[in-house]
């Protein structure tokens, strides 16, 4: 990330950014199957890092199409796991790309990246074995 982006990341410091997600949401898409939920979250966990890289590359190279596409896909992924703050930020970033709003983009891209990493960490921390034993989602 370049100096501007790092500065923007600091400015987008996030007392209001909580890496929440909802297993109940993903279970809506899997008819309650924990096994399917684990598989879909596994796909999302695999896809988020390259998308965050594309976000950064698109931003640094002023490649608006790559940036917009990464934000768009992150928005869908966030929807599936009920990560509402992440989804809203991805939508905001996608819209800024569409409207070519170069003034606000750096801070918003940095905030999206921060939320993406936080959500990724939260998803990686799911203890599937425990969930299978307990039979109930633990995160909301």
């Amino acid at each position: 990330m370049n100096t501007d982006s790092q500065e923007a990341a600091k400015n987008a410091a996030m007392p209001d950014v909580t890496p929440t997600f909802s297993l109940a949401t993903i279970l809506q898409f899997t008819a309650g199957s924990m096994e399917s939920a684990e598989r879909i979250i596994g796909l999302i966990v695999d896809e988020i890092p390259p998308l965050l890289s594309n976000l950064e590359l698109g931003h640094e190279g002023a490649d608006r199409e790559t940036l917009e596409r990464a934000a768009h896909t992150l928005k869908t992924h966030a929807s599936y796991v009920g990560a509402e703050a992440f989804r809203e930020q991805a939508e905001r970033t996608e819209l800024l790309c569409r409207t070519d709003n170069t003034e606000e983009l750096p801070a918003q891209v940095a905030r999206l990246a921060t939320l993406g990493h936080a959500t990724l960490n939260a998803l990686n921390s799911i203890d599937w074995e425990q969930l299978s034993r307990d039979g109930h989602p633990q995160h909301e």
Partner: protein, 145 residues
């Protein structure tokens, strides 16, 4: 003109879709997996293409009953692919359901302008997808007893 379908659906028994062949065009592995899961338990056959160009290639080789078309794809997007379908004799009347995460008036207009039949806004729900397919194929959806 058709409608934009959001999350609300009425309770019905999922249709069986016997003999129904569906093509899903979507570059997103997660969306592919979710749609595949939604169609599990029905008799529909699902093929998957990773972009509009690949969808047109599959369409040229196979008779499909319906296409689920993501709008935002690399190489060839769903709008261009649908426009190409509508120019071909076989694709003129084929039901095409747009799958999109963007439902601004401009997005909706673009989808209908190229000839899509209806739109589902992501993330879609299982019953919503099944009911939309049934409606487009004119198959009965039975209310839950």
């Amino acid at each position: 003109m058709s409608s934009v379908e959001h999350g609300h659906t009425s309770p019905t028994i999922p249709p069986a879709f016997e003999g129904v062949r569906i093509l899903l065009a979507d570059d997103n592995f997660v969306n592919q997996e979710v749609v595949r899961g939604f169609l599990d338990g029905t008799s529909a056959t699902l093929d998957v293409a990773k972009n509009g160009e690949a969808a047109l290639e599959l369409f040229s080789q196979t008779d499909y009953d319906l296409i689920l078309m993501d709008v935002n794809m690399p190489v060839m997007d769903g709008l261009e692919a649908t426009a190409a379908l509508r120019r071909s004799p076989r694709g003129r009347t084929l039901p095409v359901v747009a799958l999109t995460a963007s439902d601004t008036p401009e997005d909706v207009e673009r989808c209908y302008n190229v000839g899509m039949n209806t739109m589902l806004i992501k993330p879609i729900q299982r019953m919503q997808l099944l009911q939309t397919i049934a409606k487009q194929l004119k198959l009965p959806s039975k209310p839950t007893p």
